[in-house]
Amino acid sequence: MSDAGSLWIVIPTGQLASGAWVDDLRGAPAAPFPRQRVEVVRGPRAEERIQELFQRRGWSDGLPVVPPTLARVNAALAFAPRAPGDVLGEIEPLKGLATVEKIAANAVMAGCRPEYLPVVLAAVACLLDPAFNLRGVQTTDENVAPLLLVSGPVALELDVNGSFGALGPGWQANAAIGRAIRLVMHNLGGGRPGVVGYAGLAQPGRYTLCLAENAEKNPWEPLHVEAGLAASASAVTLMRAETVINVTGGLAEIASVMGTAASGFGILWSGRPTVLLAPAVAADCARRGMGKDAVRQFLWRHGRWRREEWRTSWLATRIVAEGGWPDWVEEAARTGNIPAARTPDDIVLCVAGGDIPIPQNAYCPSWGFPPARITREVALPRDWTALLTAARDAADALAAN
C-alpha cells in the first residue's frame, strides 16, 4: 500500500522500559529521528537516504546496512518462536529493551536472512546472561569482543561455516549473525564507540566474530553436548574474547602462546579462554588416544606464564594492587609458573577451520569477570522445516528471474 519509493522502516534503536530512547541518554543524537515504532522514508533515492540517515544517527557500524523495512522484519519474525513484542531483557549499559521485533530489525540491518533469526535470538539470550557481563564488555577500554560458536544441525542447515576460512569473509551466516549481535549491542544497548565504549583499539572481531564448530572434523563430543544438551539440539556458545591469536602448529605451540602476557587478563579474572583447534591437531590427538580433557590437561600444564615475567609484567607492576591476584595464581607462583586458566576445565575447546597439513589454530584469551562460558539452545519455530524450505524456494525464485 505504499507509493513507489516509500520505505516503511522499523526504527531499530532501543527504548527503555520507561519509554525513554537510548539515543536521548547521552545528549542530543547526531541526526533527528521520529520517536515512534515505524518511520516512512520516501523518494526515488529512499534507500540511499536511509543509508545516509542511519550513518548520521549513529545506527551503523560504519558499513552499509540493509534497511529494516516492515516487509523484511516481518519475514524474519515468521521464524521467531516468540511474539514480536516479547522482551528478552534489557541490553546493558543503556538498558534498551531487547524485544523480538527490535532484534529482528537489527538482524535485517546486519544482512541476516530471515531464517537466521532463531540463532540471533539465542545469541542475544547469551548476551543477557549476567555472567556475560555485557556492561563490562560495552564500556571497557579493553578490546574484547563476543565470540559466537554455533553447533548442532542448524549450523549445517544455515550453512554456518566451520571449515576453511571460518573466521574470515565469504559466508553470509557467519558475517551476518555475528554482525547482528554487534548491532543489537550498539543500537539497543547504546554501546557506541567513543560515546559509551572507550576501547583503546577495539578489534576487527567487533564487526563480526562468529563461526561454526567443524562437526565433520570433530573427533569428540560437540560443544553443546558438553554443555548438557542433546546431540540433536542446536546451540550457540558465547565467550568473551580479548582477541584472536593465530597459532601455527600443535598443542605445544598453542601452549607456548597461552603461557604469556597474552593471558594476563584471563588469569587476573580466572577467565575461560577459547582454543580453536585445527582439524589436523584434533585428529592427531584423537589418534594418540587423547580426549578433550587430556588436551585441556596438556595445555593447562604446559601453557604457563613464567613466574618472573608475570611478576615484572605491566599488569602486575602498574595495574593490579597488592593481593589483587586470585589465590590460585599466588599459589601457582609459589611452586612454579602460572597456568593460563584456573583449572583445565576452564579451557573451552572447539575444533574449527580447514583440514590442512600446516595446522592453523587460534587462541582467544578471555577478558573480564565473572568466568563465563554461556550456552543457549537455539529454539526453533514449530514449523521450522517448512519455513526453511519456503525461504529457500523464495530465494531460488528471486535469483532465477
Partner: protein, 465 residues
C-alpha cells in the same frame, strides 16, 4: 501500590516496591507517570496466585530479598525521560491508506480506519467550542499526559465524530480526568469497560438513538462517541494492550446510551443525570465502568410486583466478585445499572417511583451471606482476613441489614437502596431489560454537564445546511 511508593519517596523515605514478574514492565511505565521513573522495584518470580507456600517462600528468599536490600541501600538508577513530539506539528504527510497504516503501526489507532487528523478537520471541531485549544482539561494517569481541547479534537476527528459533538467530547474527558472516576484503574486485569449515559435535549438535537438497538452500533453519534472514548483512553491516558492495558480479555467500547426522556417525563421518573445531581433540562454525560452484564429476556407481568422478582434475581445472579465493592475492598461503592425498556418502566411506574423500585430491590434482591463471603475470599484471593459480613457490620463498614450469624440468611447486594442505578432506554415495545454489573471504585459514576458555547445551535444549523 506504586502510588503509595511515590508518596513515600516524596516524603523522603526510600522504598522498594514488590512486583510479580509479569508486572515489572508495566511498573516502569507507571513509575514514569508518577514522576519517579526510576522507582526501585523488587521482583517476585512468577505469579503468586499459582504458587504453593513453599514455592513462594523459596522465590522470595531466592530472588526478592536481595533486590529489596539493593533497592533500599544500593545505587539509585539514573533517570531517563522520553522526548515527545509537539502535538501541533505535522508528523506525516501521505495518502489515506498510508496515514492509517502509519497510525496503526505506531500504536495510535484502534485497528479500524481512522479519519486522518488534519489541521483543517481539527479546526472544524474547535469551532464548536469556545475554549482555547491549548486549554488543559486535566492530567491523565497512567502516562500523565495533559488532556487538552486540542487533543480531544484530534481524537474526535480520528474516531469519526462530527464537529458539533465537541462539547460532549470535552465533557467526557472532564469526566475521565475527575479523580472520582478512577481512570488510573482502566488497564487492570478484569478489563471492564466504560458505559456512557447521555441526558438532555442534545439527545434529540444530535440524533442519538435511544430506542430499539440502544446499545448497538449504527448511529453516528452513539457509535463514534463510544469509539472516541477508547481512542482517547489509548492515546492520551496511555492504555495500550500489552503495555499499560493488562485486561486479561477486555471488551471493546460501548456505544453511548441515550435515555428515553419522553418516557421518563411521562412516568415522572428522574433521569440518570438527575439522580446524579444534575439540574433538570441540562445536557449531561454520566460515565461508569462495568465488568459485564446480560440481557434479561421476556420480563413478564402486568404489575411491578410481578416483574420485579425476575429483575431482582438477575441482579443477584450476576453480582459476584464485584461485591468486594460493597464491602471488602471498598465500602458501599457498588452501583449496578439496570436498563429498563420503556414498556417495563411504564408497567412498574404504574404503582412505583424509582425510589420505590430501589427500595424493593434493596429488600428483595438478596443473596445468602455465605455465598457473598465466597466471592470475597472463599473462592477468590481478593479480600484478606476471612472476615464474615457480620464482622464488617461490627466494624461499621456495613449497615445492620447485613448483620447475623446464620450463613444462609439473605443479605442485600448494596449498602443503600439508592445505589441501584436505573435507566430507561431500548425498544419501547419489547419486554427485555439489560443489566450492567459495576466495577466499584475502579470506575465510579461521574457526571459532567455538557457546556454548549454561545452560537453552538446556529453553527450547527449552518453546518447541517
Amino acid at each position: 501500590m506504586l502510588r503509595a511508593s511515590a508518596v513515600a519517596e516524596q516524603a523522603g523515605t526510600p522504598t522498594s516496591s514488590l512486583c510479580c514478574e509479569g508486572f515489572l514492565g508495566q511498573a516502569k511505565t507507571i513509575s514514569v507517570g508518577l514522576g519517579y521513573p526510576n522507582l526501585a522495584l523488587a521482583k517476585v518470580p512468577g505469579h503468586v496466585d499459582v504458587q504453593t507456600a513453599d514455592e513462594l517462600r523459596a522465590n522470595v528468599l531466592g530472588t526478592t530479598v536481595a533486590q529489596v536490600i539493593d533497592n533500599l541501600c544500593g545505587e539509585v538508577a539514573a533517570m531517563q525521560i522520553a522526548t515527545d513530539p509537539d502535538p501541533e506539528e505535522i508528523v506525516f504527510e501521505g495518502s489515506f491508506e498510508e496515514v492509517n497504516r502509519l497510525f496503526l503501526e505506531n500504536g495510535w489507532s484502534d485497528g479500524l480506519p481512522i479519519v486522518p487528523p488534519t489541521k483543517e478537520k481539527i479546526a472544524s471541531f474547535l469551532a464548536f467550542t469556545d475554549l482555547p485549544h491549548e486549554h488543559a482539561i486535566g492530567k491523565l494517569p497512567p502516562d500523565n499526559r495533559i488532556a487538552t481541547v486540542w487533543n480531544v479534537a484530534v481524537n474526535g476527528v480520528m474516531a469519526g465524530c462530527r464537529p458539533e459533538y465537541m462539547p460532549i467530547l470535552v465533557a467526557l474527558v472532564e469526566a475521565m480526568a475527575d479523580p472520582q472516576y478512577g481512570v488510573e484503574h482502566s488497564g487492570n486485569t478484569p478489563g471492564a469497560e466504560t458505559q456512557i449515559v447521555l441526558n438532555g435535549p442534545i439527545i434529540k438535537r444530535l440524533g442519538f438513538n435511544y430506542e430499539q438497538g440502544a446499545l448497538r452500533d449504527g448511529f453516528q453519534p452513539n457509535t463514534s462517541i463510544g469509539r472516541f472514548w477508547r481512542l482517547y483512553l489509548r492515546n492520551v491516558a496511555g492504555f495500550l494492550p500489552h503495555q499499560n492495558d493488562k485486561g486479561t480479555f477486555g471488551n471493546t467500547w460501548r456505544v453511548v446510551l441515550a435515555e428515553n426522556e419522553d418516557v421518563l417525563a411521562r412516568i415522572g421518573w428522574p433521569t440518570v443525570a438527575a439522580d446524579m445531581g444534575v439540574a433538570a433540562g441540562e445536557n449531561a454525560v454520566t460515565i461508569s465502568r462495568f465488568t459485564g452484564g446480560n440481557v434479561i429476556v421476556s420480563v413478564f407481568g402486568d404489575t411491578a410486583e410481578k416483574v420485579l422478582p425476575y429483575l431482582g434475581n438477575a441482579l443477584v445472579s450476576h453480582s459476584a466478585w464485584e461485591l468486594i465493592f460493597t464491602v471488602g475492598m471498598a465500602s458501599g461503592t457498588y452501583r449496578p445499572l439496570l436498563i429498563l425498556s420503556p414498556l417495563i418502566a411504564e408497567t412498574i411506574a404504574k404503582t412505583m417511583t424509582k425510589r420505590d423500585v430501589q427500595q424493593w430491590l434493596f429488600e428483595n434482591a438478596r443473596m445468602p451471606a455465605s455465598l457473598f463471603e465466597k466471592y470475597l475470599w472463599g473462592w477468590t484471593n481478593l479480600v484478606p482476613g476471612k472476615r464474615t459480613l457480620n464482622d464488617w457490620v461490627r466494624l461499621g463498614k456495613l449497615p445492620k441489614a447485613f448483620a447475623g450469624n446464620d450463613p444462609d440468611r439473605l443479605v442485600p447486594l448494596v449498602t443503600k437502596p439508592e445505589h441501584f442505578m436505573i435507566a430507561v432506554a431500548g425498544d419501547p415495545l419489547r419486554s427485555n431489560c439489560y443489566l450492567l454489573i459495576h466495577n466499584g471504585i475502579l470506575g465510579f459514576p461521574v457526571s459532567k454537564t455538557v457546556r454548549l458555547p454561545p452560537g453552538w445551535a446556529e453553527k450547527l444549523r449552518d453546518a447541517q445546511g
